[in-house]
């Protein structure tokens, strides 16, 4: 602190010790509040981009922004929701800039993508005679991706990430009533899609409770 010019010459590793107490506390709090949601953000990014490299970039970009603006995070509110909103905004910006087409479903891509990262972590759920339990992870994944973006999004945020309607409404900038009806219609469409898969594989609605 006594000599700024000297300090700026210190290589990165050594300057660690010169972190101010406030900055150090911020870093600790950030790790406790924000970095713990890394997996959830990564999964959300994967769902949005369908590409592991893009997903990683998106998550990095999100954390970079989040850290810079961490002071504006309202303490006591859901940090995960805050991060998701930043990620979503980043995603929109990137896709607008690159004029890519978000929401366009390429089934081959989904399959390839799915198989390419399939082995990284699969939870083994017990087999069941119920025809819905016969559905493959891949089928549920594909069915979800066959939904229009606005329906898929709310289902992901609600059913996979466990956000409340209020949090979702804030994230997608729509009223709660809209979230309610999108969820209802989205689940209905999804179920119809899943029933199609199930019947294609020889299971019929009749075996369902």
């Amino acid at each position: 602190m006594n000599n700024d010019k000297q300090n700026s010459k210190i290589p990165a590793e050594q300057s660690t010790s010169s972190l101010s107490v406030i900055e150090y506390q911020k870093q600790l709090e950030f790790q406790k509040e924000a970095v713990v949601h890394l997996n959830a953000l990564y999964n959300y990014a994967l769902h949005l981009t369908m590409n592991t490299d893009d997903a990683e970039d998106l998550v990095q970009e999100t954390y970079l922004k989040a850290y810079r603006f961490f002071n504006s995070f309202e303490r006591g509110t859901n940090c995960k929701a805050w991060l998701f909103k930043i990620l979503k905004n980043n995603y929109i910006n990137i896709f607008r800039k690159n004029s890519k087409e978000p929401g366009k479903v390429d089934y081959d891509l989904i399959k390839d993508f799915y198989h390419s990262i399939k082995d990284s972590s699969i939870d083994t759920t017990e087999a069941d005679s119920d025809y819905f339990h016969s559905l493959l992870h891949e089928e549920v994944y594909q069915a979800l991706h066959s939904l229009p973006e606005e329906f898929r999004e709310v289902i992901e945020l609600c059913d996979i990430e466990g956000f409340t309607y209020e949090e979702i409404a804030n994230m997608v900038e729509s009223p709660i009533g809209t979230i309610r009806s999108r969820l209802f219609r989205g689940r209905k469409m999804l179920r119809e899609q899943l029933e199609t898969y199930a019947s294609q594989r020889g299971f019929h609605g009749g075996t369902d409770r």
Partner: protein, 80 residues
């Protein structure tokens, strides 16, 4: 409550987002209506399927490392 009103509340009922008043009216209606009960059960089941069947991936270690490095780096920058 009629079926149309109940229909609009199904997703909120599934997600535990009904107010006490809505909840009471909604389940009262379900007790008298098999169609809405079926819709409700279907929606519940669909939610469960998504939760159970969607694969959760683990972020690669390289990403975890770079996030840790990133916050560390930012902290140093703003400190200089």
């Amino acid at each position: 409550m009629n079926c149309q009103q109940a229909y609009q509340l199904i997703s909120a009922a599934v997600d535990g987002e009904l107010s006490c008043h809505e909840k009471e009216k909604f389940f009262q209606h379900l007790a008298e209506c098999t169609t809405c009960t079926e819709e409700f059960n279907d929606a519940m089941k669909t939610k469960l399927i998504i939760k159970e069947r969607i694969i959760r991936f683990t972020a690669p270690q390289t990403l975890i490392n770079s996030i840790m490095h990133l916050t560390h780096h930012c902290a140093q920058e703003s400190n200089l």
